[in-house]
Symmetry: D2
Subunit: 324 residues, 4 copies
């Protein structure tokens, strides 16, 4: 059994990691850390886990074989520097500390977009889990980038649920404000843009075009829908495009191409990413949907852990979607 | 023109008062107070008022003819004791300081349930505006109480929207928590129970039965639906009951009896209260719906102001419902 | 491997059965029937199953070891009379045809409230799965009934999500109507009342009190929250009550007692039922929550199938809740 | 008093017209037509109007001074050809029959985008009310077009509420589907594109760039948020742009420029349009919000009627927003 610590187990992604790992047959969930709630039962915070998890929050990191960091952005590096963790312990960081520059001492964090960097992840002790927008958008554009077709600007609007903003209280996550409301934030300058640009240039053999991204806040809790279009060579007809994407993701249990238009709830509460392609004149239009907390965070983290330990990548990730 | 001050103009009820009063033809909205935002424009807080209201928050009470107190519960009495207000200024308190015991120096606050105490309100300088649950439930039961038919226990569940909890941030008004969620709070001991009991006993010639009330928190922003049943004399058939209620509210522009079943949105963004009656065996079942911020707060406050100043009670209150 | 047929696989409960059974290790899902969509892929209807289920709808019942009937109320009996099914095939009916009177030829349907009739279910070939409201309310009141404490009237309001009304289109499930709306339907006369009354009298050694139930339609998709109170003997203090309930459900992996107040989403997308008890004067107040499509339908059906086949009752039912 | 007929008064826009016109001091609402519900009370369909409107549906057009056509797209022309209406009667068509080609016999329909064609509307007997997306997007881009700055492609995503799809039942307006869901429809080919292109070219002195528009379906009932960017001359700095827009709409009671970012609910249940501008590199980014049923339909129709009759254009349109 793989002994697991989740550092920062009180937040949304921490909670999702627990929900996934209590049903993972190869895992023993042992240490769930919190700074403020040491000694409290897990279900006092994650109330839906009543009857399913009898652990308590601790301030010990313990002696894990795998360590998940769900600490909030900018905290992981400091944590790792201070913490006394075995040099054998595999680490998956869900923050953004190591996504752009993976250097950590003599080692490096692999960028954990499971479908693009499977080999590298499987050989790494350290993995930086991608951001949620970055996951949805990079999966949608990577086949084009790899084929050298992503030379023009991409035009993206991507709408996210409230859980993307985490658990802390704020005016824009107040129910009375958010319900029935839609807004735009950080247009053209979301922090995931660098991540997306980085990855797509890495998999492309030529410089990719500029990525324009307008993030939107939706009045739902879970999920990201990204709507993307970019101009591509007229010779790439729909059939060729569908072949390109189908082949690219044929080995993935989680990424699928839909012939029909897709809607966000088709992936909510699953680790899947669904893509839909259409050609409109000079543009290819791609719709990409994920659950921001699963394929966009905790689910992909567990997927990466599975890969790092040589387990089937969908172990404990065949989830019943909520569908409605 | 009646010069108006709203003390506490930054909250939800303060905002609703502004939205109503900027379109009131007999009113000049002059002083909108805030402790923390003095000098800021009204629309910086109530963003939907951009282009409709160019006032700024002030810390002056001014010299109003009418003063609305939207200060939060327990603050009004202290405010009035300190504030230098003309003894001619009419005061409508939207807090709960004077609802149960209206005494204030030598004067008394009238209880501002407009349909029950019209005469008293019209002759009062001081009015305590009822609570939202109290309004929905008391309107539903008052005709029975007045007819001496409310001798048995009442069984009530009443569900409220998130705006009932005000603007302050908290776990149960976080969108990620509240969306798609339902919960119960303060069963059998909501603070409005005393208010309801007080009023119904006052209008009844006999001791009324016990009021059992379970408040519920709904996943919507506006409105209260109260579902009430109580055992009544078998001789009161439906026809007699409908006559009783129809006559009771025949003079009201806002309270109506629906022959068909009703749903909450039929009153949202209006000052109306709709009632629906059915008999089931020994019980009469009453559904009562209001908008908690309007008939349950700011709307009724303006209705009371109209009555106090001898204006038609629906002045500035013929509102377009949102309907959807 | 247990070969399974789902008759009526296009509806909401049919879809949920598929979502559960594709991950059941002892099951081979073979025949999914539809009258109108024969030959279409499952994922053309249940779009979230893209990449997870490659079966097609058929009009063949096949030769199943277990047959789930998800046909709509009043259709199951006729279906069974016509269908050529082996007399060995175990049948779980999710309609209401056999809930009150389980007789079918020489055999009888067991009433499939798993926690109350485990033995009977495990020995039955035929099981009638309970209604969703019936499940939530009966689980809440059964310990009192069994202890002979349910002699007084019960006062119940129970709010349900839109999926309770099924897939067919109607005015009250139109999004523009339902969003932000609350209404009451069938007060005092919901069809599940007879089922509840029947079961509680059966487990009680004395005649139980009258059950008053007001169903409410909520503006969410999944879940039922029932709020119940009834007068009980003053000698039963909270400690005794908590002991009573805790012991009653100590063997169940799905029914748990919460010391803290509960909210609906704590069970959404799981097969759990959570109960919370409080005493208020002469009344005990019970809150009971389930997911109407899982513990209230498809989940309990699979639980019953597990029991009927001697499998652990939580096989394929350790579901990750959606939580948010 | 202006006598008014609404042809097609049972739908969403018909209902909104009634809600607006019952409070219009210069209007007498006389004939509300329906084909199927003749004789039924208005409030039997528009249930929120109970106590506010005692009219009944009729099949008579009557002898109106103003006729609103809320008949559904493609029906208005046929209706006008058949109907015996006085040649003095002013007509406002809310369908799309006359938006692109306004010819009707010897006369022409003016295109009723009130802020752009005020003079023409005020001199017309016939007005074609714009589409909802067209209103939101054209108001956002018209100042650029008029200034000859709209020469490059525009990139638009615009999300709409469920009421945009009307009252008829369908899978994508079923609550169980729509709640918490987001989808894309008719990318690059929404029927309003021609309308937008037409209008912008008309007000521009040079050929405008191509308009790329991705419509999205949101999980809310009311409102459209359009997010638009286009490349403009670097010499146009923010200050110049803000001046351009502020001046353009300085005379309008409904169109306002917000310095702060905006969110959809700031206009819900009002006739306002709010715009927000930002410059990001070579692009200007514009957010535009309206209530699709008001400024996007019934509200603008009443605004146009006011203009046609020489009344203040905001008569009966100073609406209390729902805000929450």
């Amino acid at each position: 059994m793989i002994k697991v610590t989740i550092a920062g187990a009180t937040g949304y992604t921490g909670g999702e990691l627990i929900r996934l790992l209590i049903n993972h047959p190869d895992i023993e969930l042992k240490w769930l850390t919190s700074t403020s709630l040491v000694g409290d039962s897990i279900s006092s915070v994650h109330r839906d886990l009543l009857g399913e998890c009898s652990l308590k929050f601790t301030d010990e990191i313990g002696e894990p074989d795998a360590l998940f960091l769900a600490l909030g952005h900018g905290v992981s590096k400091e944590f790792l520097n201070k913490a006394a963790i075995s040099s054998q312990c595999k680490v998956i960081d869900l923050g953004n500390d190591f996504r752009l520059d993976g250097k950590f001492g003599d080692e490096s964090f692999a960028y954990g977009l499971s479908e693009l960097f499977y080999e590298e992840i499987s050989n790494s002790r350290l993995v930086a889990n991608p951001g949620c927008f970055a996951t949805a958008i990079t999966l949608a554009l990577a086949p084009l980038a790899e084929a050298g077709l992503l030379n023009n600007e991409s035009h993206i609007h991507a709408i996210t649920g409230s859980t993307g903003a985490g658990k802390s209280l704020g005016q824009t996550t107040h129910f009375s404000y958010r319900e029935g409301n839609i807004s735009i934030y950080k247009p053209f300058k979301h922090q995931h843009l660098a991540e997306i640009d980085n990855t797509l240039n890495r998999v492309s053999n030529s410089k990719i075009g500029n990525i324009n991204m307008i993030p939107m806040k939706g009045d739902f809790t879970r999920g990201i829908l990204a709507s993307i279009y970019t101009e591509i060579d007229k010779e790439m007809d729909m059939e060729s495009l569908i072949d390109l994407y189908s082949e690219r993701y044929s080995a993935s249990p989680f990424v699928h191409l839909s012939k029909e238009g897709i809607s966000l709830k088709e992936v909510v509460n699953t680790n899947k990413a669904l893509l839909h392609l259409e050609r409109h004149g000079k543009y290819i239009h791609i719709t990409s949907i994920i659950d921001n907390l699963l394929k966009g965070a905790a689910g992909q983290a567990v997927q990466n852990m599975n890969i790092m330990f040589g387990l089937p990548q969908d172990r404990a990730l065949k989830l019943k979607g909520s569908a409605f």
